[in-house]
Subunit: 212 residues, 2 copies
DNA sequence: AAGTGTGAAAAGTTTCACAGCG
DNA sequence: CGCTGTGAAACTTTTCACACTT
């Protein structure tokens, strides 16, 4: 029974999944430098973790290291890509093209890492367009039909905090399964939906505790 | 190793400190509604945690609940504020007023939560100014003197990834103790400096694992 | 010799459950 | 009675250390 009945994802620690993304970045850099093999010590140092942790993390989803040698960069890259579900471009929508939202649209950090923001929505599309956003900005009434027709599963949420929960309810009902939430609020969703909170003021507050 | 003294902050779990900020927000809302007392069950629900956890978290830094009644909103608020080191406005600088950086300057999420972004720095201040930033944008050569003269301890870092480590070295040497880092890179700092990473693409990647 | 894979110990967190106070 | 404060149990994650493979 300890041989996992639970298929695939179930028992990889959540934090290990975050680290997988970090490893992925480091491996891309190595590959760009035409490195073919890397040891757990070297990769761990680049990723800012302990080598034992790296080995354990990788072991969660297979054995592909060679003892005495290290890990083949190529194989690790494609395995992590598959594990993270990044084989194909994931379409993403952005809801709330206000100050922060339209900034994110002009910022190309997502595209660089292989996510395509396919559309933006706002209660007032014209205002957003005037903020220098090049992407199509639709009225939020089009949300449901767009999500359905384009099978979008991921959404970035930047609406004002007082509207956040209501918009989330609509997103979830329309089929969104993952939400990157920038509003400082605890969102309620069904258990099959994953919410990731990015709360900038909270991060600063946290820092402020650690400075003396 | 376990030389852990009870000197002030030392042994509150790190995750509890994050939650403290969340509780703080919820309490502010309660106070705005003129609620005077709140039970652990109610506050916990608002914060999205279990009531036992809330009680344990609060107990880390004192006892101020009244059995049978709950916690006094006012006292909790000021205690958390003190614990987080938020008694006084913390000045913050922003380094790298490019796309994301200047967006954050126009976004007022920090000010709303009581942080004052006092200055911005960029290798090319004119370009930043043209992005509609109202705050003073200084050339990055002024960093060290500004930090020294204004005793700034917190910095938001939005420079391109290839410059990030070099800029951080300068910030740390100049006396910065907490860094909110938006570059997708693992920064090396001395142990007395705290780095908080906000890696937007990484958050999306993480979500992408959980959708099926 | 170099470096993975992994059980087992340690450390860190959360949850339980209930005594005890107002 | 209602609700806090908290030891102890349960669970999660990290680290250690070493057998084992190339």
């Amino acid at each position: 029974m300890d041989t996992s009945e639970k298929i695939g994802k179930i028992d990889i620690p959540k934090k290990a999944i975050y680290r997988l993304s970090i490893y992925y970045r480091c491996l891309q850099k190595l590959k760009a430098n035409e490195v073919e093999t890397v040891s757990s010590t070297t990769l761990a140092k680049a990723a800012g973790v302990k080598s034992a942790q790296l080995r354990k993390d990788l072991a969660y989803f297979g054995q592909f290291g060679t003892r005495g040698l290290g890990y083949p960069v190529d194989i690790l890259l494609s395995t992590i890509r598959d594990t993270l579900g990044r084989e194909h471009l994931q379409p993403v929508i952005l809801v709330g093209a206000g100050n922060l939202g339209s900034a994110l649209l002009r910022y190309h950090g997502f595209e660089k890492e292989g996510f395509e923001v396919v559309a933006a929505f706002d209660a007032n599309p014209d205002a957003a367009r005037s903020r220098g956003v090049l992407l199509a900005v639709y009225p939020d009434s089009d949300l449901e039909s767009f999500i359905g027709e384009n099978s979008v599963k991921l959404a970035i949420l930047c609406v004002p905090v007082e509207f956040a929960q209501a918009v989330v309810n609509r997103l979830v009902a329309a089929g969104i399964q993952g939400i990157l939430n920038f509003s400082p609020i605890v969102l309620e969703v069904t258990p099959d939906v994953t919410v990731n909170n990015v709360d900038l003021a909270l991060e600063l507050e946290h820092l402020s505790y650690f400075i003396r």
